[in-house]
């Protein structure tokens, strides 16, 4: 439809567009420009070509941060998406009496990650933490550990907190998706003698495959952009064992005042996130084509 006055649509779009361009789109482009300069945030801009990018891809800390975040993402796919799928399977296996659990498991999603991190910092506390306390109480005192201060356990410890927060989130997503499946389909499976577990794996999971794929995409891209939990729990330590791209980026830009170099790292990260999205679209498209010809 044409607007009554030709300029109405532009007037409607302008407030959103102006704010968005000013605070997001412009800065995206400026970050791209910064990445080709040496700049400390105050002084002169020195053009350096691709030097910042070369430095980024050969920076051992930056490279290690990608490995750490990859491990973290792999763990969270199990602890968030996997656990969420399990919980969704449980709460959809019964027609009634599951509301309490659905509400309870979603609680952590509501809380600021910083608050969650401070609480879990105490849970992992070596002196009075919940975990060491529980281990002592059941006679496994020899297993107590400085969970966040040990290079072997720190990354896993942070991943567990992430799982604790987001398993309920993915449960809610899968729960909604499973409830969209026409009830006749699971009824039919049940009449054919399928057990609840078989119905779940053979009927429900295949039918929500799309949603599971989106969930994995969310876990991958979201995990890659993590910051809050890591910053509060370990801030990259111990000995860099939990340094992820964003914690390192914040140190480079805001502690070392290396704006140009940080911008190049930010661009590499952005390209990585966009590439993940592109891979997802490609996989999706291929699956659709195969599904169409089969």
């Amino acid at each position: 439809m044409r607007a009554h006055r030709w300029f109405t649509p532009y007037l409607l779009v302008v407030p959103a567009l102006a704010l968005f361009t000013f605070a997001v789109l412009g800065p995206v482009m400026a970050t791209g420009v910064f990445s080709f300069y040496e700049w400390d945030g105050f002084g002169v801009f020195t053009p350096v070509g691709f030097d910042n990018y070369v430095r980024a891809i050969s920076d051992p800390i930056f490279r290690a941060s990608f490995v750490h975040v990859a491990i973290y993402i792999a763990l969270t796919i199990v602890l968030e998406v996997g656990a969420g799928l399990f919980l969704a399977g449980m709460v959809t296996s019964r027609p009634k009496g599951t509301g309490f659990f659905r509400v309870a498991f979603f609680i952590p999603v509501m809380l600021p990650l910083v608050v969650v991190a401070v609480v879990w910092g105490f849970v992992y506390n070596p002196d009075f933490g919940l975990i060491n306390g529980a281990l002592e109480a059941i006679g496994l005192g020899s297993l107590t550990n400085v969970w966040l201060g040990d290079t072997r356990t720190a990354l896993i410890a942070v991943s567990i907190v992430s799982g604790w927060v987001f398993a309920g989130f993915f449960m809610a997503i899968f729960y909604a998706a499973i409830n969209q499946i026409p009830s006749e389909i699971s009824e039919a499976a049940r009449i054919d003698g399928a057990s609840e577990i078989q119905t779940f794996w053979k009927v429900k999971v295949p039918m929500i495959r799309n949603v599971i794929e989106i969930a994995i995409l969310l876990a991958v891209t979201g995990g890659f952009q993590s910051f809050d939990l890591f910053f509060v729990l370990t801030n990259g330590g111990p000995y860099g064992a939990t340094e992820i791209p964003t914690t390192y980026l914040v140190k480079v830009v805001f502690r070392n005042q290396n704006v140009g170099y940080g911008s190049a790292m930010a661009m590499v990260m952005t390209a990585t996130v966009l590439a993940m999205g592109a891979v997802y679209m490609w996989v999706r498209k291929r699956a659709d084509v195969e599904g169409g010809t089969a």
Partner: protein
């Protein structure tokens, strides 16, 4: 019948144990807020000997928690209001009208859906520093509103696209002006969509941390995430006080969530699946 009873018992046992383990960290936090520092150290798992709310009051007063809560309420409500108004107007234009440049304008917002915060926060910080936007009570409203707009426009446009076009045609034939059409037709139709966007935006702004950390260093203007973090580094060893602060900040959020859980869960799942 027997199998049903069996599976029911198994279900409630497994889920009950899981829920207990799941909520343990939060219950432990609340319990510890009633214990003295030496009790916390000597027997971390014990129940408190008495329930005394005076440390909660202490934490609230000493930590100036009221100030952080107020700042969070102010920043969140303002940001969400801006997001709702700006996005509803833009979604109306994108869904209902044909105009030159529509495709490219919409693509710009779609780009915003894909861009991670890492792609712009460095230059955004420089820009805000240059224009002295940093360090005010209202500072965070600017990036929060801007960041929320793309998803809000997208969701609201999807809602409006579901409205039969004949309704708009009929309103036009009745002589409704562009703005009148927005008030009497678009806004009422958008109500469920606006609720979803509100839930989603409230949570995102209420919990945002990275920009709050970088842009607001004056304690008077800190929001709950950064305020609590400052609190926890100020009273590093006063565990009872810290547990009390965490408890009084989290319990109201959980209470509000439990009351509105249906809308909250629906809003967040709709928003994330786009």
């Amino acid at each position: 019948m027997k199998r049903l009873i069996g599976s029911r018992a198994v279900f409630f046992t497994v889920m009950g144990v899981l829920a207990a383990i799941y909520t343990l960290p939060l219950m432990w936090m609340v319990m510890s807020s009633f214990k003295t520092n030496s009790e916390i150290f000597s027997s971390p798992l014990s129940l408190p000997t008495s329930i005394d709310f005076s440390t909660w009051v202490d934490a609230w007063v000493v930590g100036n928690l009221g100030r952080y809560v107020f700042n969070s309420l102010f920043v969140t409500s303002s940001s969400v209001l801006v997001i709702l108004v700006f996005s509803a107007l833009a979604a109306y234009a994108f869904s209902v009208f044909d105009f030159n440049g529509k495709g490219i304008l919409f693509a710009m917002f779609a780009l915003g859906l894909l861009m991670p915060i890492q792609s712009y926060f460095i230059a955004q910080n420089s820009l805000f520093e240059l224009l002295s936007i940093k360090g005010h009570r209202w500072t965070l409203i600017v990036p929060y509103a801007a960041m929320g707009i793309p998803l809000a426009i997208y969701l609201l446009k999807v809602y409006l696209d579901g409205v039969p076009r004949q309704l708009f045609d009929a309103a036009r034939i009745d002589g409704a002006s562009d703005m009148r059409m927005f008030r009497v037709l678009v806004l009422p139709m958008l109500r469920p969509g606006l609720a979803t966007v509100a839930v989603f935006s409230i949570l995102a702004t209420w919990n945002e941390f990275l920009l709050a950390l970088l842009y607001v260093t004056n304690d008077a203007y800190k929001t709950i995430p950064t305020g609590l973090l400052a609190f926890s580094s100020r009273y590093v060893t006063d565990y009872q006080l810290l547990f009390s602060a965490l408890t009084i900040v989290t319990l109201p959020m959980i209470a509000i969530y439990v009351i509105f859980h249906r809308q909250v869960i629906a809003g967040i799942t709709d928003g994330s699946l786009k």
